[in-house]
C-alpha cells in the first residue's frame, strides 16, 4: 500500500504480507528521497502462549512450549527442559546432553538451509533483476518452488530430519527432550545410521551448496579469501551468492547497531560449544542475565510503566491500545537493543571470518548470510563428532523430584539467536512463564526512550526505487535476519 499524501515529500508504505519468513510480518516505512527514513515493524498475530502455560503442570511445558513454533520447535523444547532442570536442580546425563545437542543442531542446520534456499535466495530470481549478469544462474537454481538447488535442498533437509526421527521420534514437536536427558537411547547401530545420514547431507552440501569440503568453509578466515572464491572458487550456490552480493553491494545494506548477543549454544562439560557473550561499542563482554528487561511502551500490552525482567514480566494484551503498533515486546539488555543470530554466535566463538566481516562492515545483509553459511558447515562437522561421542552403554535420562515452589530459567540458542524461557512454579503449578525469542530481540519495536529495534534501525537508509511498493532492498534486509514471527510474539 502506498500513501504519498504527506506534505514534506515523505511517502508511507505498508509492506505485507511479508512471506518467506516464518509467520506474519508487516513493515511500515516512511520513504523520502529514494530511501527509507524510518521503519516500524509489526507482528500482527497474537496467540498468548505464556498465558496458555499458566496454571499447568510444569512438565506440560514440554508439550506446549515447542508448539510456539514449528520451525524451531526443538530449541523451544530445549529451553523448556533447561528451565525445568534448573527448577528441579537436575543435571542431564552426558548422553542426554549430547543427544539433545544433536537434535537441536539438526534443526538449526535445517533452518539455515531452509532460510538460504527457500526464503532468502528466491528474491534474486525475481524479474526485477533480469538484466543482471548472474540472473540466469540465480533463476535456474533459486526460482521459488522450482529452482534446482531449492529442490535438492528440500530432499537433503528431509534426510537430515532422520536424525530427529531416529533419536526423537519425529519432528517437529517431540517430547524426547527432558530435563534429565532424552527418552530414547541410541544403540551402536543407530550411531552408524546417524553417521550415514549426516554423510548424505554432507555430500549434498559439498556438491551443491559449497562446491568444497565443509572443512574448507569452516576454515575461511579472511574476507580476501571470499574475493578469491568469487573469482576462481569452485562452482556452487556459495560462489553464486558471492557474485550476487558483490554486484548488489550487500555489505552496505542493512547495518543496525553492531551490538551482538549470544546465550551460548550446545552445552558441554566445559561450557557451550559456541560460547555465550555480548559485543557492544567494540567491547566483548559476558551476558548479565539480570540486566535483561522487556519494555511494553509500543507493544499492545499492559504494564507499560517500566520494563520488567522476565521473572517479573506479564503478557496482558491490550486490544484497544493505539500507541502500540505490534504485539511484540521490546527486550533490552542493560537498556539497549541487541542483534542476535548465527553471526553473533560465530563472532562470540572467535571464528576469524565472522570477526573480520563485523570489523569491516558490522552486521549487514552479507555478513549475516555468511555467518549462517559458515555455521552450517561448522555445526555439521561438530555433529559427526557428537555422534561418535555417544556411549550407548551409559545412562541416557536422569530423573529428579519436583519442588512445589521454585523457578528456573532456560537460556539457549535457536537458529535465529538467543532464546530464553523463565518459569515460576507455585503450588506445583506454573504461575508465570515468560519467553523471549530471538526475533523478539531483532524485530522489537521502539522502547520508552524511542530507540528503534535492530531491524527498524537496519532499514533506515535502504534504497527505494521509483514505483516500488515492496522494495527489494527492504526484502533483502528483513530476510537477512531470518525472522520467525510466530516465535516473536508467541
Amino acid at each position: 500500500m502506498r500513501d504519498a499524501s504527506a506534505k514534506d515529500g515523505t511517502a508511507r508504505l505498508i509492506v505485507g504480507p511479508f512471506n518467506r519468513v516464518e509467520g506474519d510480518l508487516e513493515v511500515r516505512l516512511e520513504v523520502a528521497d529514494g530511501a527509507v527514513r524510518a521503519a516500524f515493524v509489526s507482528s500482527p498475530l497474537f496467540r498468548g502462549f505464556e498465558r496458555i502455560l499458566e496454571g499447568r503442570d510444569p512438565f506440560d511445558a514440554l508439550v506446549i512450549a515447542p508448539r510456539i513454533c514449528g520451525i524451531c520447535s526443538v530449541s523451544q523444547s530445549q529451553a523448556a527442559a533447561l528451565a525445568l532442570a534448573q527448577w528441579q536442580g537436575l543435571a542431564p546425563t552426558a548422553n542426554g546432553r549430547i543427544a539433545t545437542n544433536l537434535l537441536v543442531a539438526a534443526e538449526n542446520v535445517a533452518d539455515h538451509l531452509t532460510h538460504f534456499h527457500l526464503f532468502f535466495m528466491p528474491d534474486f530470481a525475481r524479474a526485477a533483476y533480469a538484466d543482471r549478469p548472474w540472473f540466469a544462474a540465480a533463476e535456474a537454481r533459486f526460482k521459488a518452488g522450482r529452482g534446482t538447488s531449492a529442490r535438492r535442498l528440500i530432499e537433503a533437509r528431509a534426510t537430515l530430519m532422520h536424525v530427529l526421527g531416529l533419536l526423537a521420534g519425529r519432528w517437529p514437536h517431540t517430547l524426547a527432550i527432558q530435563p534429565g536427558g532424552v527418552t530414547r537411547r541410541a544403540e551402536p547401530r543407530d550411531q552408524m545410521r546417524l553417521l550415514a545420514t549426516l554423510g548424505a547431507v554432507r555430500a549434498t552440501l559439498e556438491q551443491t551448496l559449497y562446491g568444497a569440503p565443509l572443512e574448507r568453509i569452516s576454515a575461511l578466515a579472511d574476507p580476501r579469501e571470499l574475493e578469491a572464491w568469487r573469482a576462481l572458487g569452485p562452482d556452487g550456490d556459495f560462489r553464486l551468492f558471492l557474485e550476487i552480493a558483490a554486484d548488489l553491494d550487500l555489505t552496505h545494506l542493512g547495518r543496525a547497531y553492531d551490538r551482538f548477543l549470544s546465550f551460548g549454544a550446545y552445552p558441554g562439560e566445559e561450557g557451550p560449544h559456541y560460547p555465550a557473550g555480548t559485543f557492544a561499542d567494540g567491547v566483548l563482554g559476558g551476558v548479565d542475565e539480570a540486566a535483561i528487561a522487556e519494555d511494553h511502551t509500543f507493544a499492545r500490552m499492559e504494564d507499560r510503566a517500566a520494563p520488567h525482567h522476565p521473572f517479573a514480566g506479564s503478557t496482558i494484551p491490550d486490544g484497544f491500545d493505539e500507541t502500540g503498533y505490534t504485539w511484540c515486546k521490546a527486550p533490552r539488555l542493560a537498556g539497549q537493543p541487541f542483534e542476535t543470530g548465527a553471526l553473533a554466535r560465530q563472532f562470540m566463538d572467535g571464528q576469524p571470518l565472522a570477526r573480520a566481516l563485523v570489523a569491516a562492515g558490522g552486521g549487514n545483509v552479507f555478513s549475516r548470510v555468511i555467518g549462517r553459511l559458515i555455521e552450517t558447515a561448522r555445526t555439521l562437522i561438530a555433529m559427526e563428532g557428537w555422534v561418535r561421542a555417544l556411549e550407548p552403554a551409559e545412562p541416557w535420562c536422569a530423573h529428579g523430584t519436583n519442588p512445589s515452589e521454585g523457578r528456573g530459567a532456560g537460556l539457549t540458542e535457536a537458529a535465529r539467536g538467543a532464546l530464553g524461557h523463565w518459569m515460576e512454579v507455585r503450588n506445583g503449578r506454573i504461575a508465570r512463564y515468560q519467553i523471549i525469542a530471538p526475533t523478539t530481540w531483532n524485530f522489537s519495536p521502539r522502547d520508552a526512550a524511542g530507540v528503534p529495534g535492530p531491524l527498524e534501525a537496519a532499514l533506515v537508509g535502504a534504497p527505494v526505487q521509483e514505483g516500488e511498493t515492496t522494495p527489494l532492498s527492504v526484502q533483502h534486509i528483513v530476510r537477512s535476519f531470518d525472522p520467525c514471527m510466530v516465535c516473536t510474539v508467541h
Binding site: I64, I154, M161, T183, P317, T470
Partner: protein, 340 residues
Amino acid sequence: MTVQSRAHGFNVLWLQSGGCGGCTMSLLCAEAPDLLTTLDFAGIRLLWHPSLSEETGTEAVELLGAVARGDIRLDALCVEGALLRGPNGTGRFHVLAGTGRPTIEWVRDLAAVAEHVVAVGTCAAYGGVTAAGANPADACGLQYDGRREGGALGAAFRSRSGLPVINIAGCPTHPNWITETLMLLSAGLLGADDLDAYRRPRFYADHLVHHGCPRNEYYEYKASAEKLSDLGCMMEHLGCLGTQAHADCNTRPWNGEGSCTRGGYACINCTAPEFEEPGHPYLATPKIAGIPVGLPTDMPKAWFIALSSLAKAATPERLRRNAVSDHVVMPPTVRDIKRR
C-alpha cells in the same frame, strides 16, 4: 473408480493463521519422492503459499483478491493454524498483514469460492493448542470449536463440492497425510464416506497409534514402563493414549523410522479435538483404584481388568525386566531349531 487425470491442474491456496507453521515444516519432510516432485506429478499447483511462493506484499494481496473474486479457480483452500476471534469478536489478534483485515474474514471469503476447504493440522481443524488454557486469542477451528461443530465457518458450511471442511488433524500432521489428501481430492477420489466422525480422512484415522507400536508385546502382558526412557508399554503409568488415538503413526513412520512411542514417550492423541486439555498432566496416566481411567477404544472395562490381571500374572521374566530398562537386558531365548 478410476483415477481421473486433471490436465488443467489443481489449484491450491494456502493460508496460515493462529498456528506455529509446523504443519508446513512437516510437509517439507515429505520423501520418496520429495514434496515438489510429488505435487508436480499430481498436477497440484500452489497458487500461493506463505513459505514457498515468490509473491510478497502487494503482489500477494492482489493474488488473494483475484482468487476471492473468482477470477482464478480455487480447487482447495488449505488453512493452517487456528482462526482467531479475539479480542471481543473483532478478529484483530490476527490481521492479514498489508490488508488491514482480520484473517478470519479473508478465510470466510475464500472458503465461499473454494471447491474444497481443508484444515491442515489440529489447530485449523479444532482449535488445537492455540485454544488451550484460558484461550487468550479466542481461537477455534474452521468448522469445529473443540469437539463442537461450529467454528469460524459454522456447522452448516459446505464447500462448492458439497463436502464439509476436511480435517487433516495432527499436531503437526504427517507430511503424507497432507499430500495424499490433496492427491485424492485432485483425483476426485475423496468423498463424504471417506471421512470419519471428526471428518478426518479415514485412510489414516481408521487406524490406532497402538497398531504396530514396538511396545505391543509389553502391552499384552501389562509390562509397563515406570519412567521415561524405559522400554515397556507407556499406557499404565506414562500417559500413552495410543490405544485411543486415531492415526497410523506406528505403521507409517515419521522422519525415516520414527514415531512418538518409538521415540520413547507417550502418544498424546494429537489428532483428536481437545487433546490440548487432557485434564491431567500429559505424561501421567490418571487412575482410579489403580486402573487407568481412559481405557482402550472398544474395550469393556470388566474385560480390561480381567485380562490385565491375567496378563500380569503371566508376564514372562524377559518382558518384566526389559520393561523397566532403557535397553534389552534379557534377549529372547534362541531355541535349538533341531529340537523344536
